[in-house]
Amino acid sequence: MKIPVVKNILSANDQIAADNRATFDELGVFVVNVMASPGAGKTSVILATTARLPSDVRPGVIEGDLASRIDADTIAARNIPVVQINTGSGCHLDAPMIRAALPQLPLQDIDLLFVENVGNLVCPAEFKLGANLAVVVASAPEGHDKSYKYPGMFAAADAVILNKADLLQVFEFDVDYFRRGIEMVNPDAPFFPISCRTGAGMDAWLAWLLEKRQSFAEDRNQSIVV
């Protein structure tokens, strides 16, 4: 006897992601899932972004790492509320980990929550966390072929940041080639070349992010969970 199932294999995770999102929505917290390979500059992008936020947008951070509090300590040093999740050997964050971390954050004092995923261009794309946006950070030293080699990750992005753009020439990074790879899988994702070191490009990224947050605040019916 054949029994149809048609159930997403990660539906248990997706359900908890939806619960997380309901919690965030209720408290008016806008959440960004930041994904990248190790060393692309996730923490630097988060810090450079929080440093430029208007005073009425209060940031918070969830840090995901295999081990250590290095990134969390860096963020705490800026007086930003932060909780560290150590995944052990786990290669990605999942929705239950976020759920478990929430009681450790003063969510009522946070308007914009960044979730720094584990450095990895494969698995994090598969696991929804309950965020409003998924942002992928690439960087010049990684090379311009990453969008072709990890299409699943770039397909999952609501926006792609190219960090360390001040080094494009050093690494002979072909931006057009890289962008065509993104456009193949994700033609609508905006693209922001930035440099956390010089601050170049930060204004455009920040304007887009704040506009997304604003449009969500005006229309809570945007139900896509990432």
Partner: protein
């Protein structure tokens, strides 16, 4: 890399479904996996063989149906299958304007079970 929790999810779902339907044994599990997802068949099979021991699903056959990734050339409309790393040019016209129609889904399509009463 994360096939262990994925396999646990598969087992939980198929066992619940079987019990609800009064099945005695699961003989096959039919999975659909989009080529853009990062799931590795062999790794699922490895964890499944371990985790299914002593359950209704022990010795069930895992059938993987791979949903291919299709690339469409926006210049000449040529269509071709692809896997990562993606080609950056159309093999027919050399055009660089390509669009991927692929799926990152992975879901359990159906299971095949033996009935409690008839043993079939």
């Amino acid at each position: 890399m994360h096939e262990l929790p994925v396999t646990e999810g598969i087992l939980k779902t198929v066992i619940e479904t079987s019990e609800r339907n009064g099945a005695r044994r699961i003989t096959a599990i039919n999975l659909v996996i989009g080529e853009l997802s990062s799931i590795v068949d062999d790794s699922i099979q490895f964890y499944f063989d371990l985790l299914s021991q002593g359950t209704l699903a022990e010795n069930a056959a895992l059938h993987f149906r791979r949903e291919p990734t299709i690339v469409i050339c926006l210049d000449c409309a040529h269509r071709f299958n692809a896997t990562a790393p993606l080609e950056s040019q159309c093999p027919q016209c050399g055009g660089a304007h390509l669009q991927v129609k692929g799926s990152r889904d992975f879901f359990i399509e159906s299971i095949e079970v033996e009935d409690e009463d008839t043993g079939r």
